[in-house]
């Protein structure tokens, strides 16, 4: 349950959930202008689910099968709250923060 693993999970979950969020018509229109094209929506969905899957794999690999899922769900809930807060109050910040979360995740992964 090291804090670093949690930060890594939070970054990956945030990026994944943000991608899923922005793939939806309503939220894409909040952050950018208009609905996403079919290709973009598909790409975002794939990226989103991939991020969530990677965060699950990271959690289980680094924390084991008993603590990993617990921590994964906790980080997912925290990241989801962050995404909802941002998309509701500062929709323009979602993409930059999600993009910044990925190199941050890489840095933390190297430190773990």
């Amino acid at each position: 349950m090291t804090p670093l693993v949690l930060v890594l999970n939070l970054c990956l979950s945030f990026a994944g959930l943000a991608a899923l969020c922005l793939s939806m018509n309503r939220h894409h229109a909040q952050a950018f202008v208009g609905r996403p094209s079919r290709r973009r929506a598909l790409a975002l969905r794939i990226a989103g689910w991939a991020g969530i899957a990677v965060s699950f794999a990271v959690a289980v690999t680094l924390e084991g099968w008993n603590f990993g899922p617990v921590q994964w769900l906790g980080a997912l809930s925290g990241a989801a709250l962050l995404v909802v807060g941002l998309i509701s109050y500062r929709p323009g910040w979602v993409r930059p923060i999600a993009l910044a979360a990925l190199p941050l995740a890489l840095l933390v992964a190297l430190a773990v």
Binding site: M1, T2, P3, L6, L17, L20, C21, M24, R26, H27, N66, F67, V70, Q71, L73, G74, A75, S77, G78, A80, L81, V83, V84, I87, S88
Partner: protein, 520 residues
């Protein structure tokens, strides 16, 4: 059936949620606070400075002898003595004893170095909030039954809520604040419920399972016919219980028992239980901390009281059924969580409390009459209870912390006075909606709660030498939490003033696309 599944689930969700919502808000809030039970207790005993606690077997043995000496004088004829040994962060001996099955436990706290009461103020600390979480301040059997019944109904409410939530995936990130009040509250309710849904389902289910043998005892009672203690021995949760023989006996010195036990397990020794201490058939149980894992399982070593010989060792992993129950209990109590994960659990608890609170408010907002019409009695009752619970309980908790700092340290029955402050402020907050309009009541009680939380760090700085910026991380984070709560409640009070008035006027015109709530 003319009504569809979704509509009947909506009806079920609304009523099951409402009926238990007020009690369950209290259970959720005090449960969330209990994630930091030890820290709260620590903060409420500011005289207790951090000191290095010796936990060598010899030191623990000495502490145990001090405890037993005190108990021999205070409760020689008790049915059981329960001695919590010193551990890092908690240097005191916590003693409890049971004189009879009906009477409340006797309690004492001792400094193991001196054998007398420690020089800290008398307080129940975080244990009050923890006990309130599952007993509501009532006699244990009644309180646990009420909480359990409400929890089972909440399971119904959660599942019916999931079924009735039509666009649970596409509305996952939706929080509209620009439409009607009803839409906004519904979005907030859905969001706080769905974002931490795995947590909510887990925490309520594991809470019920923790007390499962109390709510459904018939399997055990029919199999064991009055000898239920044998179940726990057979499930390897405690050493075999020996009935007292009626002859007086002397207890062998406990220090050698403690040292022997400490050598048998790598876990830290947590507690010593002495059964029937004055009897010839007395037994002693040495209880260890749970090994690092999800399960709430304590390894134990049993001793014969008169001779000090080892009678039973429960050091290996329990059987599957016990392990499953223990894992569920472990998930509920989250003792395994380190500081970072504990923050996430706390956050999920806050989201759960918010789900209940937004649900209660949504219920009343959805049934506001058109402007000019009087509010029916049922609606007025719900609104009054909403203010008293959702705004009143935080105010009560703040008053509890404030009383801890402001009451004189040498006041008699000080701990009871602190609890009295909790209930007194809560009662006053609950009566405020009877005197003010609904909007004013929300503003007033939320504002008072915010002010009380703001006062806590100030009272702390004024009455103790230790404040948030003094270098102690506990005091820093506690002050920060108090200020954050004050800000949150203050924001709520401000918004209640502006928003309720405007939206009460628009309430009869719900926005387009709002799913029709089934008005009961």
């Amino acid at each position: 059936m003319r009504t569809g599944v979704r509509q009947s689930m909506a009806w079920l969700h609304g009523w099951s949620g409402l009926v238990v919502g007020w009690v369950f808000f209290c259970v959720f809030v005090t449960g969330t606070a209990s994630y930091y039970r030890a820290d709260i207790s620590h903060w409420m005993r500011p005289e207790q400075r951090e000191r290095v606690v010796a936990t060598t077997p010899e030191a623990l043995g000495q502490a145990a002898e001090v405890a037993v000496a005190h108990l021999k004088a205070a409760a020689p004829t008790a049915i059981g003595w329960y001695i919590t040994l010193p551990r890092p962060g908690q240097p005191m001996l916590d003693l409890a004893w049971m004189t009879s099955l009906d009477a409340p436990f006797g309690h004492a706290t001792l400094d193991p170095a001196t054998g007398t009461e420690p020089a800290t103020r008398a307080t129940r600390g975080g244990d009050f909030l923890y006990a309130f979480h599952f007993e509501l301040g009532l006699p244990p059997l009644i309180g646990r039954w009420i909480v359990g019944a409400c929890a089972m109904i909440v399971l119904v409410a959660m599942l019916s809520g999931i079924v009735t939530h039509r666009r649970i995936v596409s509305d996952f990130f939706t929080f509209r604040r620009d439409r009607s009040a009803q839409r906004g509250w519904l979005d907030a309710h859905n969001m706080t419920g769905v974002l931490a849904l795995p947590f909510h389902l887990m925490i309520v289910y594991t809470g019920v399972v923790t007390m499962a043998l109390m709510y459904m005892p018939w399997g055990v009672s029919s199999a064991y016919r009055g000898d239920e203690l044998r179940l726990y021995a057979e499930a390897r949760q405690m050493p075999a219980y020996r009935m007292p023989v009626g002859r007086p006996g002397t207890l062998a010195p406990v220090a050698p028992m403690v040292e022997k036990a400490a050598g048998l397990s790598p876990e830290a020794l947590e507690m010593l239980i002495v059964n029937n201490p004055g009897d010839a058939a007395a037994t002693v149980s040495a209880v260890f901390e749970e090994p690092h894992g999800l399960s709430h399982v304590h390894p134990q070593v049993g001793f014969d009281g008169a001779t000090g010989a080892v009678t039973d060792t429960l050091l290996d992993s329990p059987k599957p059924a016990t392990l499953t129950h223990a894992a569920m209990m472990g998930l509920h109590m989250a003792h395994f969580a380190g500081p970072a994960l504990r923050v996430l659990f706390f956050l999920c608890g806050v989201l759960g409390s918010a789900t209940v609170a937004t649900g209660l408010v949504l219920w009343s907002v959805a049934r506001l009459p058109r402007t000019g019409e009087a509010r029916p009695f049922g609606l007025r009752l719900v609104q009054t209870l909403n203010v008293g619970t959702v705004a009143g309980l935080p105010a009560a908790i703040a008053a509890y912390f404030l009383a801890n700092r402001l009451l004189p340290v040498d006041l008699a029955a000080r701990a009871e006075w602190e609890v009295g402050a909790f209930f007194a402020v809560w009662l006053m907050a609950a009566l405020v909606p009877l005197a003010l309009s609904h909007r004013q009541a929300w503003q007033a009680v939320l504002g008072v709660a915010a002010a009380l939380f703001l006062a806590v760090p100030m009272a702390n700085a004024l009455t103790t030498g230790r404040h948030g910026l003094g270098g102690d991380p506990l005091f820093f984070w506690f002050d920060a939490a108090m200020l954050a709560l004050a800000a949150l409640l203050g924001l709520g009070a401000a918004k209640a003033g502006r928003a309720v008035a405007a939206r009460e006027r628009r309430a009869h015109r719900p926005a387009r696309g709002t799913p029709a709530l089934n008005r009961a």
